[in-house]
């Protein structure tokens, strides 16, 4: 049972490196929307990483954390897009 755990940990590490690469767009995005899209993508990768680490260490409680994080990620995107327009016509 050690080979899937190792593979999942290595996959989670690669996902983290992809998230770091996505943060470059969040740093140098010209508009607010570019940064918001990049942060949303990083949050999705974070949900996946939490689920993979929970699967690697065989702890089902991590999935609740992943669900909550996905909810907060969606809430952040919608709230940010409503705040930026300041007219409130989004969604």
């Amino acid at each position: 049972m050690s080979l899937p755990a190792d593979a999942l940990v290595v996959g989670a590490a690669l996902f983290v490196s992809l998230a770091v690469a996505m943060l470059g767009r969040a740093v140098e995005g010209p508009t607010i929307q570019d940064r918001a899209i990049a942060v949303n993508a990083v949050g999705t990768v974070t949900v996946v990483v939490i689920a993979l680490v929970g699967a690697a260490f065989d702890e089902p409680g991590f999935l609740d954390v992943a669900l909550t994080y996905a909810l907060l990620n969606f809430l952040l995107s919608v709230g940010l897009s409503k705040v930026v327009v300041e007219r409130g016509g989004v969604l």
Binding site: G11, F15, M22, R25, I37, A38, L67, S81
Partner: protein, 144 residues
């Protein structure tokens, strides 16, 4: 040893990594916030679904599979919705989408310094000026 469950989990994980790498590449290379949202909302969602399937195969229990299925459905619904909300806020702000420059007919003209969100010209018709850059066709060097 390589059980079928392990092989399935590793294959799904590699697929998810590949699609997420495509999303990261599109997020870094595409010239516009609209096209960046296009890259992340689809490819990123598919990569996340594949990776969550890998986690579900690696768990192999009923409750975790149900919970991961709920998480996958939630991501499948909310990730394009969030991208749509962000892009719609960009459109309400009046950010023009990227257009191909007038002189460029090849795929060399996609450097990220030129593309994004030229709010200040506002013409969006492509008729103004034309050869404002005035670059020679031999000067395909590294400056940008």
């Amino acid at each position: 040893m390589a059980t079928p469950g392990t092989l399935t989990a590793v294959a799904l994980l590699v697929g998810g990594l590949a699609f997420t790498a495509v999303a990261a590449l599109g997020l870094y290379r595409l010239p516009d916030c609209y096209s960046r949202a296009h890259a992340t909302s689809k490819s990123e969602t598919l990569g996340a679904l594949l990776a969550l399937s890998a986690a579900g195969v690696a768990f192999g229990e009923v409750t975790t599979t149900v919970k991961l299925g709920a998480l996958a459905v939630f991501l499948l619904v909310t990730s394009p919705t969030a991208a749509h909300a962000i892009v719609r806020s960009a459109d309400d702000q009046g950010i023009d989408p990227w257009r191909r420059p007038a002189g460029a007919d090849d795929h060399e003209g996609d450097e990220s310094g030129r593309g994004p969100t030229n709010v200040e010209d506002g013409t969006a018709g492509g008729v103004g000026g034309g050869d404002g850059s005035g670059r020679q066709p031999t000067g395909e060097g590294g400056e940008s």
